[in-house]
C-alpha cells in the first residue's frame, strides 16, 4: 500500500513541492491537497498585472483541475483544515472531511497584516493578497473614485499603480519618509517617488494612520497629525504574517513562523513545512524564489532521497511597475566597515549604488538602469573578489549580447516582435508569452521552452531581464552553487578538484563518486568530465570518444547539411607552394566546391562526406600537413604578421615566434577553443589584443596580453607583463595555457574565465611566482608529449574506422 501524503495549502510553494516530488517519484504517495480558495493553484506573483488589466485570472493559473486529476491527486478546494491530529495522524477540515497521513506537508502561507486602528473592519477596507482582493478592487474602481493605499512598500506601490491604471485617484500613505525603505536607500526612493508622481500617484510620507473613518463604509483616512484624506477604498499593504494558527494548535513549535530545519521538517519529523508560513534559521521569506528552493529540498526528502539541504536564500527585489526599473539586493545601506561605489544622474533618472566589504559585493541598489542587476547579484552570491573590476564595476558587465542587438539593452522598450535570440530566432513576445502561459521561473525553463539563450548565450542577459521584468521580485537566477548540469548537484570546481584529490580515472568512476543522478550523464557533463580527466591524467587516461561532440570524435566540423569541413594547419599562417598544391589537388579530387580562406590564416575545404575524410587527410598528410584542430576545444591558430623580416616597422621576428608557439601548443585539448597571435609591432596587424593569448612585439622585447575575444562579445585583452626574450614568451605562454587548462570550467573561454577569477590571480600564478610558472609550464610540456600525435594520420591509417564507414548498405 502506498504511503499517504497530505498537503495543507494549495498555493505556489506547496504545489511546487508536489511537482518536484512527482518528477522524482511519480507513484510513491497517495496525495491529498486542501486549499481554502475555490481555485486551482495560481501564480500569485502576477496578481499585479491582473489588477492593471494586463492579464486575466485564467492567464495566471499554474495548475488547473485537470492537472490534479492527471496526477491522481485528490483536491479539496474551498475547504480549510481546522485541526491536525498528530497522534492519529489525520487532518480534519471545516466541513468535517477527515484524511489520514503518513507524511504531512504544511504550506499555509501568510496573511496580510491589518493595522488594528479604529475603522479597520469597515466595508471597503481590504488587503492585497488574493484573487478576491483583486476582484474587489476592480469592482470598486468601477463605482468609486478615491483610493488610499496604506503602505509604500513593494506590494503597496504595485496595488496603487494598478488602481491608477483602473482610473482611480490614488494616495499612498507611508509611515517612513522613504518609499520601499526595506529595498532602497533614500536617493533611489526619491527618484522612484518622482516618477510615480509623474504617473499620477500622490504620496503622504512620514504619515501615521490614526483612524479609518466612515459610517456604513469607508469614507476617509485620518492621520495622527490631523490631516484627513478622502477614500472610497482603502488597501492595507503594510506587510504579511505567517499563517501559523493551525500549526500552533497542533502544538508544533512556532516562533514568528513555523520553525523548520534544513531538511524542511518541523519538530515532528513526519510533518514538513515550507513557504511563507515557515521560519528557517531565523528568516521568514515572502518572495517566491526562496520558496522554490525550499520546495526542491522538501521533495528530495519526501522522495526518500534524503541528501538535499536548504541553507537559506539571498533575495533580490524588482518592482513590477511598467516603465520603472529598480533593483536591489543584500545589504545596501552598509556600515563603517563597508565602502560604496555610487553613480547618480538625477536628470537622466539613473542611480546605482554598490556596497562592498572586503572586496566583495554585499548589496546593490539600482534605479533607472537595472541591466546589470542579475550580474551584481551573481557576484554577490558567489562572493567574487571584485578588486580587479572595481574601476568599471558601475558600468556593468555589458554582458548583454553586442552582436545582433545593436547595443540595444533596454529590454522593456523593445517591441514584442524584436528578436532577442539571434541564434534561434526567438522574439521578445515569444519569451514573455512562454513565461506567463507556461509558468516559467528560471533561465533554464526559458531555454527549454523557447530555445532562447540556449545556443551561443549572448542574449542570456536579455532573457534574464525579461524574466525579471515579467516576474518581478520573484525571479531568481541559478543558486549560488551552480551545478555542472542537472545530472549532479556538484559545481565544476568541486568535481575537478575531486578528480585529482581522489585519483579518479574514468567517467563512470566520477559519476559514482559524486552520486550522479543519471545513468550516463548528458551531453553537457560527459564532454566536460572527459576533458577534466584528459587534463588531470594526460599520460594514462584513455580518451572516451563517445563522450565527445561529433566534431572532436570525427576530427572535422559538422556543417548544417551534415557534411564536414577539413582545415589543415598552416603554422603561424605560413604556407608553401607544395602545401597549396596539395590543398588544390585534394579540392579537385574530391569535387570540393567551397574553398575558403579562414579567419585564422588557413584554408578550409567544405562539403565533404564523412566517409571521404580519411582519404582527404591521407592526401594532405603526404604533403606534410596535419590537423588544424579547427573543430576542437583545443589550440586553434596562431596568427602572425610578417614581422621584421619584411616589414619596415617590424621590431621582432613575430612570424618565427608564432610558429614556435604553435609547434609547442598544437594538439592540446583545452576547456574551450584557444587562439593566439603574434604581432611584430604595436600596429598589431595580427590582432593580438583580441586573442586568448597575444604577443605584441616592441623594440625592447615582447608585451604579453591575455583574455581577449573577438567573438560573441568583443573583449580586448588584459596586459599581463613585458618580457625581453622569445624563450620567456614561450615559458609564460605554456604556464598561462596550463593554468587555464587546469582551472577554467569546461566551455569557458579565457575572457569570462579571467573576469571570473581576476587578472591578479593570473599575475600571481604566472608572473610573480617564478617557481610556480616553471612548474605550470613543465606540466603543460609533459601533457603535450601525449597529445602531439596527428589525429588525421592515425585515422588515415585506419584508426576508428567504424566512425567513417556505414554499417551496412541495405537499400
Amino acid at each position: 500500500m502506498k504511503e499517504k501524503l497530505v498537503l495543507i495549502g494549495n498555493g505556489m510553494a506547496g504545489v511546487r513541492a508536489l511537482e518536484n516530488l512527482l518528477e522524482l517519484e511519480p507513484d510513491m504517495y497517495d496525495i491529498t491537497v486542501f486549499g481554502s480558495e475555490p481555485y486551482g493553484n495560481y501564480n500569485r506573483i502576477l496578481l499585479s498585472p491582473v489588477l492593471t488589466g494586463e492579464k486575466t485570472i485564467d492567464e495566471i493559473m499554474l495548475n488547473d483541475d485537470a492537472w490534479y486529476a492527471e496526477n491522481n491527486i485528490t483536491l479539496h478546494k474551498g475547504k480549510t483544515v481546522t485541526k491536525i491530529d498528530r497522534k492519529q495522524r489525520k487532518v480534519i477540515a471545516d466541513d468535517g472531511t477527515e484524511v489520514e497521513y503518513d507524511r504531512l506537508l504544511i504550506a499555509t502561507g501568510s496573511h496580510p497584516f491589518i493595522i488594528p486602528v479604529p475603522g479597520h473592519d469597515l466595508p471597503g477596507v481590504i488587503a492585497f493578497r488574493d484573487i478576491n482582493d483583486v476582484d474587489f478592487m476592480l469592482a470598486a474602481a468601477k463605482e468609486h473614485r478615491h483610493a488610499v493605499v496604506i503602505g509604500g512598500g513593494l506590494l503597496g506601490l504595485e496595488a496603487a499603480y494598478g488602481l491608477i491604471q483602473q482610473g482611480m485617484k490614488v494616495t499612498v500613505i507611508h509611515l517612513m519618509d522613504t518609499l520601499m525603505e526595506r529595498q532602497m536607500d533614500s536617493a533611489a526612493g526619491k527618484m522612484l517617488k518622482k516618477s510615480l508622481e509623474a504617473r499620477g500617484l500622490e504620496f503622504l510620507l512620514a504619515a501615521s494612520t490614526k483612524e479609518i473613518i466612515g459610517k456604513k463604509r469607508v469614507q476617509g483616512v485620518l492621520l495622527e497629525d490631523g490631516r484627513e484624506v478622502t477614500a472610497d477604498l482603502v488597501v492595507m499593504a503594510v506587510g504579511i504574517r505567517p499563517n501559523i494558527d493551525l500549526a500552533k494548535s497542533a502544538k508544533l513549535h512556532c516562533e514568528r513562523g513555523l520553525v523548520v530545519s534544513d531538511t524542511m521538517q518541523t519538530y515532528d519529523p513526519r510533518v514538513y513545512a515550507l513557504g511563507e508560513c515557515v521560519q528557517h534559521r531565523n528568516e521568514v521569506y515572502g518572495l517566491v524564489a526562496p520558496l522554490f528552493e525550499q520546495a526542491k529540498v522538501c521533495a528530495n526528502h519526501l522522495a526518500h532521497l534524503g541528501y538535499a539541504r536548504y541553507e537559506g536564500s539571498m533575495t533580490s527585489t524588482k518592482l513590477k511597475v511598467t516603465g520603472i526599473d529598480l533593483f536591489s539586493a543584500g545589504d545596501f545601506h552598509g556600515d563603517e566597515d563597508t565602502e560604496e561605489v555610487v553613480m547618480q544622474d538625477v536628470a537622466g533618472g539613473v542611480y546605482k549604488k554598490i556596497v562592498i566589504r572586503d572586496n566583495k559585493i554585499i548589496g546593490a541598489v539600482m534605479y533607472g538602469d537595472t541591466v546589470d542587476g542579475a550580474w551584481y547579484f551573481q557576484l554577490m552570491r558567489d562572493g567574487t573578489d571584485i578588486s580587479d573590476m572595481r574601476n568599471h564595476l558601475l558600468y556593468g558587465q555589458a554582458h548583454l549580447g553586442d552582436s545582433g542587438h545593436g547595443g540595444e539593452n533596454a529590454v522593456m522598450a523593445m517591441s514584442d516582435d524584436m528578436e532577442i535570440c539571434g541564434c534561434n530566432g526567438v522574439c521578445k513576445g515569444d519569451i514573455v508569452k512562454a513565461i506567463t502561459t507556461k509558468g516559467l521561473f528560471t533561465l533554464d525553463d526559458v531555454r527549454a521552452h523557447t530555445k532562447a539563450s540556449s545556443s551561443c548565450g549572448s542574449c542570456t542577459g536579455l532573457v534574464e531581464q525579461l524574466l525579471a521584468t515579467t516576474l518581478g521580485s520573484d525571479y531568481s537566477d541559478s543558486p549560488s552553487k551552480t551545478p555542472m548540469c542537472p545530472c549532479t548537484d556538484h559545481p565544476h570546481d568541486e568535481v575537478r578538484t575531486g578528480i585529482v584529490a581522489n585519483q579518479i580515472k574514468t567517467i563512470p568512476e566520477v559519476m559514482k563518486h559524486f552520486e550522479w543522478k543519471t545513468e550516463n550523464g548528458c551531453p553537457k557533463c560527459r564532454p566536460a568530465l572527459n576533458y577534466y580527466l584528459v587534463c588531470a591524467w594526460p599520460d594514462t587516461y584513455k580518451d572516451d570518444g563517445q563522450s565527445r561532440f561529433i566534431n572532436e570524435r570525427a576530427h572535422a566540423n559538422i556543417q548544417g547539411d551534415g557534411t564536414y569541413s577539413v582545415i589543415p594547419r598552416m603554422w603561424g599562417g605560413m604556407t608553401t607552394p607544395q602545401e597549396l598544391r596539395a590543398v588544390a589537388d585534394a579540392a579537385e579530387k574530391f569535387n570540393i566546391d567551397t574553398v575558403h580562406v579562414t579567419g585564422g590564416q588557413r584554408i578550409g575545404l567544405y562539403g565533404l562526406k564523412k566517409e571521404e575524410l580519411p582519404a582527404v587527410w591521407d592526401d594532405l598528410n603526404k604533403a606534410g600537413m596535419v590537423s588544424g584542430h579547427a573543430y576542437g576545444k583545443a589550440l586553434r591558430t596562431v596568427k602572425t604578421c610578417v614581422g621584421k623580416e619584411w616589414c619596415r616597422f617590424g621590431t621582432q621576428d613575430s612570424t618565427g615566434l608564432g610558429i614556435e608557439l604553435e609547434k609547442m601548443s598544437w594538439g592540446s585539448w583545452m576547456p574551450h577553443k584557444f587562439k593566439m597571435a603574434a604581432s611584430g609591432c604595436p600596429r598589431n596587424c595580427a590582432e593580438a589584443t583580441i586573442k586568448d593569448f597575444g604577443v605584441v612585439c616592441v623594440d625592447s622585447g615582447y608585451e604579453i596580453h591575455v583574455g581577449g575575444n573577438g567573438g560573441i562579445k568583443v573583449r580586448a585583452t588584459d596586459f599581463l607583463c613585458n618580457v625581453s626574450t622569445e624563450e620567456e614568451v614561450i615559458e609564460y605562454s605554456a604556464a598561462y595555457i596550463q593554468l587555464y587548462r587546469e582551472e577554467a570550467h569546461y566551455l569557458e573561454r579565457t575572457a569570462p574565465w579571467i573576469e571570473r577569477i581576476g587578472l591578479s590571480h593570473i599575475k600571481e600564478q604566472v608572473v610573480d611566482d617564478k617557481v610556480n610558472r616553471k612548474k605550470l609550464a613543465e606540466r603543460f610540456h609533459f601533457s603535450q608529449k601525449f597529445s602531439q600525435d596527428d589525429p588525421w594520420k592515425q585515422r588515415a591509417k585506419g584508426a576508428d574506422a567504424h566512425e567513417f564507414t556505414t554499417l551496412k548498405q541495405v537499400g
Binding site: T518, E519, N520, P523, R526, Q546, G560, T806, Q809, V810
Partner: protein, 121 residues
C-alpha cells in the same frame, strides 16, 4: 541482451546488419537504405535501437549525437530524442521514425518497416 522487438513486423523482412560489437557502446552506426539513412544505436546496457537518421527539428544526423541513457542529443541544435519511440524530449515536439530491431546471439537484425505512430520523417 534486449532489443525493442515489434511483434507486428513480418519476420521475413529482417535484414542482418552486423555484429553487436560493430556498434560502439553509447554510440551509433549508420545503415544506408538508399534514399535515406537509419541510425542504429547501442546503449550502455547493450540495448539496440534504430531511428531514421534525421532529427525532426532540422534534419540533423542523429547517428552523430551523444547517446546518454535511452536518449540521443542531435549534434546540430541539441534536441534530445528518445531512442525507443523516436519522440523528441519535451518540451520539444517532433518524432523520428523508429524501426524494429532484433538480436539473435550477437547478430543484429533490422526491419525496414517503420513502427507505427510516427510519420516517416
Amino acid at each position: 541482451m534486449q532489443a525493442a522487438v515489434d511483434k507486428n513486423a513480418d519476420s521475413s523482412e529482417w535484414i542482418e546488419i552486423g555484429h553487436i560489437n560493430d556498434i560502439p557502446k553509447l554510440g551509433a552506426r549508420v545503415v544506408s537504405a538508399g534514399d535515406f539513412n537509419i541510425a542504429v544505436f547501442r546503449t550502455d546496457n547493450d540495448e539496440i535501437f534504430a531511428l531514421r537518421d534525421e532529427c525532426p527539428h532540422k534534419g540533423g544526423p542523429l547517428s552523430q549525437g551523444i547517446v546518454h541513457g535511452k536518449k540521443v542529443a542531435c549534434p546540430l541544435h541539441d534536441w534530445k530524442i528518445h531512442l525507443d519511440s523516436g519522440e523528441a524530449v519535451e518540451p520539444d515536439e517532433g518524432c523520428a521514425a523508429s524501426y524494429p530491431v532484433r538480436i539473435d546471439g550477437d547478430a543484429v537484425y533490422l526491419s525496414l518497416t517503420p513502427k507505427k505512430g510516427c510519420p516517416n520523417k
